[in-house]
Amino acid sequence: MLYLGSYQLGDRLGLGVQSAVALAPSPPDDAPAATVYNANRQAVASYLIPPADVPAAYFAAAVHLDRRYHVGRYAILVTWVAASVSRSSAAVFDIVPGGDPAGAVIAGYAFHRPHAEYHVLDLDSGELVRGRNPFV
C-alpha cells in the first residue's frame, strides 16, 4: 500500500503499475482497471490504464483530480488478470485544501473599464473562467 502524497484539486496524480508473474514482466490479459475509493468506501472514479512501456508491462496514467474529488483521503485499487490469475495493487493519497478542480491558471487577460475590472482566466483543464473586481 503505497502512499502517493498530498495533492490539491486540479492536480494530476501519476499512477503506474507493472504487471509481473513470478517477479518477471508479463503483459496482462487486458488493461489494468483503477477504481478510486473515498474514506467512506464509495467508488468516486474509475479508469482504464494505458500501456506506457510494453516490453516492461508497465502501465501509467495521469489522473486529473477533478470535480468528482474533495478534500480527504482516497485509496486507488488497480486490478488486472495475468497468467489467468487475478491480481491487484493499491495506493493511498490525500487531497489537501487549496487548488481548483478545473486546474491552475495558465493564461489571463484583464479588461479595464471605468465601472469595474474584468478578468478572463484560462485554466489548464481548458475551462474559461471570468471574474469581476478581483481582490486579495
Partner: protein, 103 residues
C-alpha cells in the same frame, strides 16, 4: 512495511489493507482481518486494537480500517505508529504491517 500517510490526533486514520502476496495475487481472508497498533518502542496500544471496518472490494482484496486517534488510547502528535494486520487464509496465519504518522 509501507507508509500510509499522516492523520491528525483526535481524528481518525483511514487505512486500507490489500490481501495480496508478493506477486500481487489476490487472496481472500477467511474472516475480516484484525489489527493491533504499536508505538515506535514496540509497546502495544491495546485500546486502539480492532477489526477492519469493512470490505471495500473483495475481488480485489481491499479492506478498510478506521483507527480513532485518541490521546487516551496512547496516541501522541509527531509520532509514528505501526499498524499490524492479522488474518487467516485457508486456516493459515497471514500478517501485513503499515506505518503511519500522527500530526
Amino acid at each position: 512495511m509501507d507508509f500510509t500517510g499522516y492523520s491528525p490526533l483526535g481524528g481518525q486514520h483511514y487505512d486500507w489493507l490489500l490481501t495480496t502476496d508478493a506477486n500481487n495475487v489476490v487472496h481472500t481472508p477467511d474472516e475480516l482481518p484484525t489489527y493491533k497498533v504499536y508505538s515506535r518502542d514496540g509497546t502495544e496500544l491495546t485500546a486502539a486494537a480492532g477489526t477492519v471496518a469493512a470490505v471495500v472490494d473483495l475481488a480485489g482484496g481491499l479492506f478498510q480500517a478506521t483507527v480513532p486517534l485518541l490521546g487516551g488510547s496512547g496516541f501522541d502528535t509527531a509520532e509514528r505508529y505501526v499498524l499490524l494486520y492479522a488474518w487467516t487464509e485457508s486456516g493459515l496465519p497471514r500478517t501485513k504491517a503499515h506505518v503511519f504518522g500522527v500530526v
